[in-house]
Symmetry: C2
Subunit: 398 residues, 2 copies
């Protein structure tokens, strides 16, 4: 039986103060003033902001180095994606990292930061086999009451170029992956059609969704978007496909971008973007206004790739706003919508939101307005998941 909470004096999205009754995991009541009774645990929200749970729709929670000494980044030149992948595989092998342990560490930090949903891509390759995947599966089980988690079976080291990988991916799907992943079908796997046909076939056979890493630039990446849309339509997978990164959407001309936006809308393909420090990335405000489903994420954090990512999705909104040139509060809140409702939609969560009847996935945080919280990144005062208090004052309780 879940504890019943009366959360007093919080301001949903910075609006007028309300009380929330949280019962049976849900928002049972929301009103200016609710009279407490003896069955309720009273929590004073002290007129702070109330946000819905933050959604990290693109993580790699098995890759971090939390709990280990600071990793000095010395990735060898020329630092193409394949160099980062090779370097990471080497570090993981040499340091004998446990995906089980590392992913649990990242989950606790994420909960403390108000993250209630994570979609994580888990490396599957012919060297590690399913070891990382099984570790993260165990973490999903451990935290099943505290976090909504989806796993993507992800061929980080390439798929067609590493014979045996396809079978491993399909096994991961049978073991419980929610999505089949993909990676740069042309630049890494050297055969976009066969790459995409293979992963779409797995999705079709097993009824899972797709979430495809696409770093490919310009018109090459855009061609892959077209191929993905064609397969989504033919297999009737509308609303079940996400393309991640998709830097190419920030590199093509307006007319072509408009054609791709139409394809995304027709096939209800979601776009995951977490921006990038250098170079182009999708024009988020434009896609948002056009009605494309958008989500964002942390990517790998505290890993061998680079130091700039972290588990805090409010910080991700800040980085996206900075990189997108979005300075007005309404624009920052548009990005926050991507990191909350957008991500929840991509993860298929129909019970998400700040309304009566929704599951109580909630974050209480200081600030006058949501934008102030995004900018100042204060520690999260309370985090609820499914009506249970999972973090307080920036620390995980689970």
């Amino acid at each position: 039986m879940n504890e019943k909470y009366l959360l007093h004096n919080v301001r949903p999205m910075g609006g007028a103060a309300v009380d929330l009754l949280i019962a049976d995991g849900c928002i049972a009541q929301m009103a200016p003033l609710i009279t407490p009774d003896a069955t309720m645990t009273l929590i004073d929200g002290q007129h702070q902001l109330l946000l819905p749970g933050l959604v990290n729709a693109h993580a790699h929670i098995d890759k971090n180095l939390f709990g280990h000494p600071w990793h000095k980044n010395q990735t060898p030149e020329p630092r193409r994606i394949v160099d980062y992948v090779d370097n990471e595989r080497r570090v993981r092998r040499e340091s004998n990292l446990s995906a089980r342990t590392q992913s649990a560490r990242e989950v606790r930090l994420a909960l403390a930061a108000g993250v209630t949903h994570i979609r994580t891509h888990v490396d599957i390759d012919t060297e590690a086999g399913l070891a990382h995947f099984e570790g993260v599966l165990a973490t999903r089980d451990e935290f099943h009451a505290s976090l909504t988690m989806q796993l993507v079976a992800f061929p980080q080291s390439g798929m067609l170029i590493r014979p045996g990988t396809v079978d491993l991916l399909e096994t991961a799907v049978k073991l419980g992956a929610d999505c089949i992943g993909g990676l740069d079908p042309s630049t890494v796997d050297r055969d976009p059609v066969r790459h995409l046909d293979t992963i779409f076939a797995i999705a079709d056979r097993h009824g899972v969704e797709l979430d495809i890493h696409l770093h490919e630039p310009g018109t090459l990446g855009a061609f892959a978007v077209e191929l993905i849309a064609e397969r989504t339509r033919v297999l009737g997978l509308q609303g079940r496909v996400t393309i991640s990164h998709v830097f190419c959407l920030g590199m093509i001309d307006d007319a072509y971008l408009n054609r791709l936006i139409d394809l995304l809308l027709e096939n209800r393909i979601a776009i995951m973007s977490l921006g990038t420090g250098v170079g182009a990335f999708p024009p988020l405000k434009r896609l948002y206004v056009a009605g494309v489903t958008l989500c964002t994420g942390s990517d790998g954090v505290r890993d061998t790739w680079g130091p700039y990512n972290n588990v805090d999705m409010l910080d991700r909104v800040k980085m996206l706003g900075y990189r997108s040139g979005l300075r007005r509060d309404e624009e920052v809140e548009l990005l926050l919508d991507i990191a909350t409702h957008g991500g929840a939609k991509v993860m298929g969560d129909a019970q998400y939101g700040l309304a009566v009847g929704c599951r109580a996935d909630l974050v209480v945080v200081p600030g006058d307005t949501p934008t102030e919280a995004v900018i100042n990144l204060p520690s999260r005062t309370y985090v609820f998941k499914a009506g249970q208090l999972v973090a307080r004052d920036g620390r995980s309780l689970v």
Copy 2:
């Protein structure tokens, strides 16, 4: 008489642990172990990092809105620089902000973040006259023992286009400005030669330095760099001129960039860059390796322009690293050098550094390595200015 401190067990730049004896405002001794005596106040550094004081070489400390409710950014379109300037002048007029009060608030926050030096540009225009300037002068006096501060007399609203501004700028220089400023001589003031001749003449007459805001793009901005270099050479002002922002250095072709780098080196012109969220900015690593003097800063924080800047210079290093694609620890430390030694050089501080005999401007902060501190931005444990403890555990003591 200054207090004498024995700072025990700190790791300069992450190296081997040492003790520091701080006396008469300076680092009097630095050794693996110093025996305390009754005249010394003992401070346990707990094996934390020791950094030299952080240098904010480009601030606008009179413009912030600290202590006021969150400012909802609604800058009207089309949001060119002139629109931000007009919007800001309107907000300052309507809210009756005191430059004296606001600048003191920003100084305290900066001290708490380990900033020991600030060069601030102060708006001078025909509407506010010298009111902002006099407010910041008073703040410089108030904090003279806690902070090295330089003032730039800055024509934020234009100079030639607002008759009367030149006289006001010259008066500010007589009142104690360290530098004469400038602003976009072509795009704002419509006459690059007359603009630059005017401010160089003021610098020459009064023996002050120059620090010129240059947002102008591409070859137009590059032409202004050439004009600045010519005047620097003719007037013998080598080592006394800074150009701020200089986005154009990130926009021109390699051959032209190399010619400009030669001009900067020949005339010992410093470049101030704090990057930008969108668009090009100077290639910092390349300039650094070429030997150009570089510094960075906060720009305006918590102001009407945009929400993304803050007083923490470690956070600025992080933003610059993210935007420059510099992921290796040695590259992050190169940027940290710009935010410390580079800024101190630009501000003409010959007593700066982590060596015996240097003035004790010091920051103690948790972290294995400087890069870890840049990434995690922990609160500063101790901040010393000229041998006095000015902040502790993230709070200003003055």
